[in-house]
């Protein structure tokens, strides 16, 4: 009897001890992520000081409600407004190493193509390199960023579901005639186009529109202007920095989109939303859907 009690108590104590150790270990569990270079980055604890030198990653951190952990951003990060007051540490391709180190970051989020990665790592700074390019990449990068920040995996999934719902809603808002609408999205006046394989092209496909650029030309093909005249798009989408003179190009006045004035000229801010593969892709889809709605008869 007495002995049984003791055994039971000992057992309870043992279980309690196990739980406590587990909890302690669980708390001190380092974070381990594999970034887009295929490198495993280990963080001893959830980072509290984060530097992001890619606008889409800055936006992802903020949309995961962790904006307060950012201590520095690149010169192109401008959304949400709260990041405007943060120290600027150069651009993604020419990061200012000294300024980054001075911020004592626990982790730096960079693009894979950034030049400063090796230098930062040799100075003992932990770097996670990510390169969102497609819709699928955005989801993957969100999961990685959430993992880096030590958030439960549900957070990233919730955010992704919200974005997906937003894109779907934008797609539902356009009339069915969009299926016959042929769109040309000009990235810049070289001209480079957004092909079906690009992030913008994927959004167009989700909206149901046709892209005049076939997927086999790759994400951002450099076109001969003649190609666009021949393809005769119904709608042209372009940022206002590249719009000037577009309708005066030789032969372009005969393009259906130009004749019917079905041109969507996006402001710099709007263009930023559309071209950044990040959490504002639903907003980008809505901007493009609004443009289609304006020009398509229901």
């Amino acid at each position: 009897m007495w002995r049984g009690d003791f055994q039971r108590e000992a057992k309870a104590l043992w279980v309690a001890l196990c739980v406590m150790t587990w909890a302690l270990v669980g708390q001190a569990q380092p974070i381990q992520v594999v970034d887009d270079r295929g490198r495993t980055v280990v963080l001893p604890s959830p980072p509290q000081r984060v530097v992001s030198i890619l606008p889409s990653l800055t936006e992802t951190v903020c949309e995961l409600q962790q904006c307060h952990r950012l201590v520095g951003v690149d010169r192109f990060s401008n959304w949400p407004a709260s990041v405007e007051s943060l120290p600027r540490v150069g651009g993604g391709i020419d990061p200012n190493i000294e300024a980054i180190v001075a911020l004592r970051p626990d982790v730096v989020l960079v693009a894979t193509s950034s030049r400063g990665t090796d230098r930062l790592e040799s100075l003992g700074v932990r770097v996670v390199a990510l390169e969102p390019k497609t819709h699928a990449d955005v989801q993957r990068v969100m999961n990685t960023v959430a993992a880096v920040l030590g958030l439960p995996s549900g957070e990233a999934q919730r955010l992704w579901k919200r974005i997906e719902a937003g894109v779907d809603a934008a797609a539902r808002s356009v009339p069915p005639t969009v299926r016959q609408t042929r769109v040309y999205f000009e990235v810049n006046r070289a001209p480079y186009a957004a092909g079906a394989a690009s992030f913008i092209g994927e959004t167009l496909t989700r909206l149901g529109a046709q892209n005049i650029i076939p997927p086999e030309l790759g994400p951002f093909p450099k076109l001969n202007p003649e190609f666009v005249v021949r393809a005769n798009p119904d709608v042209i989408m372009v940022g206002d920095r590249n719009f000037a003179g577009l309708t005066d190009r030789p032969g372009w006045s005969r393009i259906a989109a130009v004749q019917r004035q079905q041109l969507c000229v996006f402001s710099v801010d709007e263009a930023n939303v559309i071209v950044r593969p990040g959490p504002r892709m639903a907003e980008g889809a809505r901007l493009m859907a609004d443009c289609l709605n304006r020009h398509l008869a229901p």
């Binding site: 120290p87 993604g92 391709i93 000294e98 300024a99 001075a102 090796d118 951002f220 450099k222």
Partner: protein
């Protein structure tokens, strides 16, 4: 004779002073200096970021100045610059290819990451010089070498444009490389440049007799009994090694290699054995001061140093030209 010694001391002293100043210039200004002893991050900024990049700018400038002097002697042309054998365009093409490969296949990406952009740039620079040598069928004809260098530079430059057209995502990163920057130079990069620089300087000084001979004309050099062929090949190797190393670590930096020997000649008339050394010191001083300006002018932001060297070097050369003609 006296004058060259003074010039050497002067250039070295000025560089040393600017290097000290360099510890205090950066996006945070002088602040890290004051708190260095108490704050490990400030100490890291001063010793592991500012110190190596300051010395790195000096070393890279010295490599370019040295290569410039050797190139001008070898080609007997005051307009020759160290990139004349195609090394710059070779390095650019290699960087463009590696950046493009990053996005193409995971297999290529692992190789690119292992080699690094620095390694790729060096390999590209040296490969371009070898290509120039092959096209010129050796080093015996200076004119053919020069022409082959121009052709290689043009063609590789065009190929680089092709790559950036096929994969426009690399455009921005390429631009950063083309502008050149000393911002990523660490101690290891500096020691590589210092060792290569010392080797090249020793080689160039011991080969300076050939350069002096060549300045009197090819046939005179031959009549002096110098074994021109192997010595020329060695000089080309010095140029390739020096420019390849500088370009790999800092990107394309214009005008230092062209301007440094001219600036030295504007002060003293001397033989190549002294000119190569003085030109290195001048190149180092030029790039070091340009780097300080690049860091300090619009701090906390930074101007790519290659832009500044082009403006400063070009401006000074123009002034020199006008002063001479008037």
């Amino acid at each position: 004779m006296q004058r060259t010694t003074w010039l050497a001391y002067g250039l070295f002293g000025a560089a040393a002073m600017l290097a000290l100043l360099g510890l205090g210039v950066g996006s945070l200004g002088l602040e890290p200096i004051w708190v260095m002893l108490a704050d490990p991050v400030a100490a890291q900024i001063v010793w592991d970021i500012r110190a190596p990049r300051t010395l790195g700018a000096w070393a890279a400038g010295a490599l370019l100045g040295l290569a410039g002097a050797v190139a001008q002697g070898l080609f007997r042309n005051p307009l020759a610059d160290p990139f004349l054998l195609g090394s710059a365009s070779g390095a650019s093409l290699a960087v463009a290819l590696s950046l493009a490969a990053l996005g193409v296949s995971p297999f290529a990406a692992t190789w690119v990451i292992r080699l690094g952009l620095t390694g790729a740039a060096f390999v590209g620079a040296v490969a371009a010089v070898l290509l120039t040598l092959t096209l010129a069928r050796g080093v015996q004809h200076t004119f053919r070498l020069l022409l082959a260098g121009v052709v290689v530079g043009m063609v590789l430059g065009a190929l680089t444009s092709m790559v950036t057209i096929m994969v426009p995502e690399v455009l921005q990163a390429m631009q950063a490389f083309m502008l050149g920057s000393t911002g990523f130079v660490g101690w290891s990069a500096w020691s590589i440049m210092a060792v290569v620089g010392a080797l090249c300087l020793v080689a160039a000084i011991s080969l300076s007799k050939v350069l002096d001979g060549l300045s009197l004309g090819e046939s005179t050099a031959q009549s002096l009994g110098l074994p021109l062929l192997p010595l020329r090949a060695a000089l080309v190797a010095v140029i390739a090694l020096a420019t390849g190393t500088a370009v790999a670590q800092t990107g394309l930096i214009a005008f230092v290699g062209l301007a440094a020997p001219h600036l030295v000649r504007a002060v003293v008339k001397t033989t190549y054995s002294r000119l190569v050394g003085l030109s290195s010191l001048m190149g180092g001083l030029l790039l070091l001061s340009a780097d300080l300006l690049a860091r300090g002018l619009i701090a906390p932001q930074e101007i790519p140093v290659g832009v500044l060297t082009a403006i400063l070097g070009g401006g000074y050369l123009l002034w020199l030209m006008h002063r001479r003609s008037s």
